[in-house]
């Protein structure tokens, strides 16, 4: 038995169960809180009352990528992944400093509850609303399927079964454990999101963010305690791999270049604009309470990011030193949590607390995306185009049905689990950014922007990203970036988001300039000074 395939105690699973129960309880509180206003305003926008902590720690939606994909890459490729993630140093200021005020203001002026709603009202165009809604649902479904796999994988790790060699004797196969984890995860997350809607997603996200932060810092301390110093961690990791583990473009036994300078530059677009243009982030900006909240959120998220991403680098480099032959690199954080707590009294309980971090991140992402997808279906498609006179009860049941259907689709897609979690997350995040950043900027800052221009910008960004993905899947592996079959074509060595944003910008500006100017009354409503009575 490998020394780091630790048997898991029931305490670990118990902590996770307590975490799930706490999340459901928060959802019931959220359900009571949202009753103050209309169903749609409360269920999908939380009555526009997000405070600084909720906005800061949930806006950029740390996902399974943060606690599984990113650590997996560090473990595999080494210190160069710090350059890959480095743009998170400006993510707080870009996320809140560019669009937050105007999105919040426009949401209030137009009565928009969702991002498609806002595009529809700003450009007086049902087509802009419908197209944006369909694109959001398309990208979110991909993301959500990948996150369900992450959640089930974590549940599998913490299930208290004998080590691999003895599983046959108990009759419990590891695939069955994955399915059990998938079922538990699905029922819980879909359930609490159905109960409490947007506020449930935000409050549980906030709770999970705090737990994640504590979990990572605990794991950092435990890792340091075991290693003695992080210098030793890097030195040992290099011994197990090569000098490339401590330099760029990173370690890869097959000779690929994980991060060329061109890709490093690209990721300063990916994470920054991926944050700015994420539909889940945009709707949170719309829901913030006031500008003081936005300012405090910049600082809170800045502190949070530096205390999450830098420690994870140190932890996962140390993991390479102590567990050099981990079979599934996605499991590096759970495995490290179990390894560092194996000799501690109450270690199983402590491991559970640390394991809640990646699990919570995945749950938070799934619940946020469920709300976005459901709002798109209910508000932007059904209420706008099918039954404008739908009652609150009807909308509520349609919302529940949509969430259940999405959950079923995610489970079905994971009966043969998706690979390349991080690659899917990067693709979806980048494509969403290429699709929505330019239209959002046009809507909030450019009076001359037209509906035709906004729609063209969306379609151009999405089409460019998809075209480069298809090209990358058909062409031979360029031996750049992560080793995955789900890859894009790196035109001139750059990530597709760069070209997607460029195409979106060119089409957005050109088509706006060429099309009829917008109605002055709409522009006055969205940009004008309110008259003093």
């Amino acid at each position: 038995m490998s020394e780091y395939a630790q048997p898991v105690g029931y305490w670990t699973l118990s902590v996770l169960v307590v975490f799930l129960v706490a999340s459901v309880w928060l959802a019931t509180l959220a359900q009571r809180a949202m009753r103050k206003a209309s169903f749609l305003q409360g269920y999908f926008l939380g009555n526009s009352g997000l405070g600084a902590w909720a906005l800061a720690l949930t806006a950029t939606v740390q996902s399974g990528g943060t606690f599984m994909g990113y650590p997996s890459l560090i473990y595999t490729h080494g210190w160069v992944v710090s350059l890959w993630i480095a743009s998170y140093m400006v993510v707080p200021i870009t996320t809140f400093g560019v669009l937050a005020k105007r999105m919040a203001q426009l949401s209030r002026r137009t009565g928009a509850i969702t991002v498609p709603d806002l595009f529809r009202e700003r450009f007086a165009s049902p087509a802009a609303g419908l197209i944006s809604s369909l694109l959001i649902m398309f990208f979110m479904v991909f993301m959500i399927v990948a996150q369900f796999k992450a959640g089930a994988s974590i549940m599998k790790v913490v299930w208290p079964v004998p080590p691999a060699g003895e599983s046959a004797a108990t009759g419990t196969s590891l695939d069955s454990l994955f399915l059990i984890g998938l079922a538990l995860f699905t029922v819980t997350v879909v359930g609490y999101t159905m109960i409490g809607g947007f506020l449930a997603a935000v409050w549980t996200d906030l709770f999970q963010s705090v737990v994640m932060w504590i979990g990572v810092l605990l794991l950092l301390l435990l890792t340091l305690w075991h290693m003695g110093s992080f210098d030793v961690a890097t030195q040992t990791a290099v011994q197990h791999t090569s000098a490339a583990f401590a330099t760029a473009p990173g370690y890869a036994p097959d000779g690929r270049e994980f991060l060329t300078p061109g890709l490093a530059l690209s990721f300063f677009f990916v994470w920054v604009f991926g944050g700015v243009g994420s539909p889940a982030t945009l709707v949170r900006l719309m829901a913030c309470k006031d500008t003081r909240t936005i300012r405090r959120s910049v600082v809170l998220l800045s502190v949070y990011n530096v205390t999450i991403y830098l420690p994870l680098l140190l932890i996962c480099v140390a993991a390479r030193a102590v567990m050099p032959d981990l079979a599934v690199s996605d499991e590096v954080v759970p495995r490290m949590a179990l390894w560092t707590t194996r000799d501690l009294w109450g270690g199983s309980l402590l491991a559970g607390l640390i394991l809640v971090a990646p699990f919570g991140a995945v749950m938070a992402t799934v619940s946020s995306y469920l709300v976005v997808i459901a709002s798109g279906m209910v508000r932007d498609v059904y209420q706008r185009f099918v039954r404008p006179s739908a009652t609150a009860s009807e909308l509520r049941w349609l919302t529940y049905a949509t969430m259940v259907v999405v959950g079923v689709i995610a489970v079905a897609a994971n009966l043969r689990p998706v690979a390349y979690l991080q690659a899917i997350i990067v693709f979806c995040g980048s494509s969403a950014a290429a699709t929505f950043v330019v239209p959002a900027l046009m809507a909030t800052f450019w009076r001359r922007a037209t509906a035709a221009g906004a729609v063209s910008a969306m379609l151009a960004g999405a089409a460019t990203s998809l075209a480069l993905l298809i090209a990358g899947s058909l062409l031979p592996d360029p031996m750049l970036g992560p080793a995955t079959r789900f890859r894009s074509y790196y035109l001139f060595g750059l990530e597709p988001i760069v070209w997607g944003l460029l195409a979106s910008l060119v089409f957005g500006v050109a088509v706006s300039a060429a099309s009829r100017p917008p109605d002055g009354r709409i522009v006055e409503r969205c940009f004008g000074t309110p008259p003093t009575d």
Binding site: L83, M89, R108, A233, T234, S242, R292, A390, R448, G528
Partner: protein
Amino acid sequence: MRSFFTTAISALTVCESGSERPGECVMQVDHEDSVVRSSRREAVLVLGTWLAATAYTVGYCTFYGYERTWQSVTLLWGFPDWVFWGIVCPWLVCLGWSWWFAYRFMSDEPLEDTAEAIGAAGSQGPQDV
């Protein structure tokens, strides 16, 4: 060439006051809400911050992180030197800069308006239930 640029700029910005198509005339700059103006100003500074961070981090790491031998790498608090100076230090600088931006540069303004005066009645969408 000059007339081309003049035409292009006109197409991209407001139309002249007294347009023959008054219903389509985009509003003038001096009627713009203060939130719009302050947001634009802040967005420009944020863009500059992003560009500076990108240039420094990618530039520094490109020069000092690639094509290094293990013997040439120095470890500082567990970080390789190029990571420490190229990523950790600017990250901490951004932390301080973000604080300054949030508490010294970004302005507080009301987000709520008198909805009726701004023509919320102009919304033709379905009733909120």
